[in-house]
């Protein structure tokens, strides 16, 4: 029916993680009603991982299935891992999408990434404060390639 894989139909008929979130840590909104699809992703971040992912979607069967799949794939992942979810990997997990519906998978990943970026910009200061030098454990600024406390070259160690 409607050229969709079984997996797409299953996610469309029983979408996971639908809903709005109270006090989300990040929100990502993509699409507009003129072109047909709108998605909003809400995330909660605990210990650098996506502890909760919820979405709301206005769109076709593929758009809803993609949202559901993205939310499943993202849950429990670190932010970096979640940022590496791609359109391709979403479509693949869904057992493929009709060619003219591939753009729906773009929207799903985009909405999630936007929610993560939103979280990161809200927490920009916190992130900076959480960076520590691996040698002296002093705080370092994100953009810096050396520790201002001990002067040694270091890559940023987040989440300390």
């Amino acid at each position: 029916m409607f050229d969709y894989s079984q997996k797409v139909m299953e996610h469309f008929a029983h979408p996971r993680n639908v809903g709005e979130m109270e006090n989300p840590d990040g929100v990502g909104e993509v699409g507009n009603p003129v072109c047909g699809d709108m998605m909003t992703f809400y995330i909660k971040v605990t210990d650098g991982r996506l502890s909760e992912v919820l979405f709301k979607t206005f769109g076709c069967g593929a758009a809803i299935a993609v949202s559901s799949m993205v939310s499943e794939m993202a849950k429990g992942k670190t932010l970096t891992e979640a940022m590496s979810i791609t359109n391709k990997s979403v479509a693949q997990e869904l057992g493929g999408l009709p060619e003219n519906k591939m753009h729906c998978s773009n929207l799903g990943a985009d909405a999630l990434h936007k929610a993560i970026l939103d979280y990161q910009s809200r927490n920009a200061e916190q992130i900076v404060a959480k960076c520590h030098c691996p040698y002296c454990n002093g705080s370092i600024v994100e953009e810096s390639s050396f520790c201002q406390a001990c002067g040694r070259e270091c890559s940023i160690n987040r989440g300390g």
């Binding site: 008929a13 979607t57 206005f58 769109g59 069967g61």
Partner: protein, 392 residues
């Protein structure tokens, strides 16, 4: 329960039509161009069908009927055939902006060939204003083509008023009546048109059977050349069984169309009333009265058409939508756009097209199944969040 509400896509062939066709698929297999007795049986078959089709549309001379393979071919022949045959008069064509693609895409390609096309606007109901047609006619206008009824929103155009104008101005007038013939009474004399397209599978005839009425004296350049079938206007061995089927479907429609359409209209009213009672934020696309009896095109806000169609299909209910997501090209309906329907509402359009076999039980079944589907999708929709609880 299996419920078919997509009669505008196609109809189920009437059993009586199939019965009429079967001998022409078996024993009466002859080629109507042959003089021998096997060929003559086939020739007689299409002769009778031509009479039946002519009678259905009030055409007094069955030589004015050209059989084609589809409504699309009939529309192509009407536009290209007439314009090419009358180039000396001019290069200007007028069509409405809500025509079927078998008119609009032909117009576009005629533009590439150097012809000029005016696309007429419609109002919020999808209606053409005859005065706008009059204003668009130029001295070099060859043809006006405006559909009788729109397949998507069902709007019925003021064809008689337009033909008065085209006749006074000496411009040929074609109407694409594919969505109308067999669903309401159509009379080419009363309509005053020079050309009219119709298609068999729109009124319980076989797919691949269609015709173009061409008023005597109207010059048409054939699109398919070869033998002298269809009086030289459409070459190729006739598809005898289908033509016979189209004839029978025409005969049946002629006798039964009035009872069909009053039955269908009753169902549509029950349907629409039921929907407005059960679902908030819905609107009717098209004209409340000047519309095909079987057409119920509704806009359901905050949800998208394809999602609704899939969930309806899971309940055995078949319909269609003007949403971009349901079209292969991902373009939303050009008809709703021309009518000024907002894109977000167009995406939430659902078209239920009713037919003679539909029943009250089927309407009630959809009225039971649709509201929870809408509710479920609205709960998922980011557009719906500000709306009050308690709305469906």
């Amino acid at each position: 329960m299996d419920v078919y509400f997509d009669h505008i896509s196609t109809t189920r062939m009437d059993a009586r039509v199939l019965e009429e066709m079967l001998p022409f698929l078996r024993e009466n297999f002859g080629n109507p161009s042959n003089q021998h007795h096997i060929g003559q049986v086939a020739r007689k078959g299409i002769g009778q069908a031509r009479e039946q089709v002519a009678r259905l549309i009030g055409c007094l001379n069955s030589d004015e009927i050209i059989f084609t393979s589809s409504g699309t071919e009939a529309n192509n022949l009407a536009l290209k055939g007439v314009v090419l045959a009358n180039q000396k008069k001019g290069k200007h064509i007028i069509v409405s902006s809500i025509e079927h693609f078998s008119v609009l895409h032909v117009a576009k390609s005629m533009e590439k060939m150097g012809f000029e096309v005016t696309y007429l606007p419609v109002d919020n109901y999808g209606l053409i204003n005859p005065q706008v047609v009059e204003g668009a006619i130029r001295t070099d206008t060859v043809l006006v083509s405006i559909q009788l009824a729109n397949p998507e929103v069902g709007t019925i155009q003021p064809i008689e008023a337009i033909s008065e104008i085209t006749r006074a101005k000496g411009v040929l007038f074609h109407t694409d009546a594919v969505a109308a013939v067999g669903n309401l009474i159509v009379d080419v004399e009363r309509l005053g048109v020079d050309l009219l397209s119709l298609s068999g599978h729109q009124f319980y005839g076989p797919k691949g059977s269609a015709a173009l009425f061409v008023r005597q004296g109207t010059r048409v350049t054939p699109l398919i050349e070869g033998g002298i079938q269809e009086r030289g206007r459409r070459a190729g061995t006739e598809n005898v069984p289908e033509i016979v089927g189209l004839g029978k479907a025409s005969e049946i429609a002629m006798q039964e169309v009035n009872s069909w359409s009053s039955h269908i209209l009753r169902l549509r009213q029950r349907f629409w009333e039921g929907i407005t009672k059960r679902i908030a934020h819905v609107s009717l696309n098209g004209h409340p009265d000047l519309r095909l009896s079987g057409n119920l095109n509704i806009g359901i806000e905050f949800v998208e058409g394809e999602s609704m169609l899939i969930l309806l299909d899971m309940e055995g209910i078949v319909a269609s939508s003007g949403s971009a997501c349901t079209s292969q090209a991902l373009k939303s309906s050009h008809v709703l756009k021309a009518m000024g329907v907002e894109p977000v509402k167009a995406h939430g359009s659902l078209l239920f097209s009713l037919g003679k076999e539909n029943t009250e039980e089927e309407i009630d079944y959809v009225l039971e199944k649709l509201p929870p589907i809408v509710k479920r999708l609205r709960a998922m929709s980011p557009l719906y969040k500000e709306k009050e609880e308690g709305d469906v």
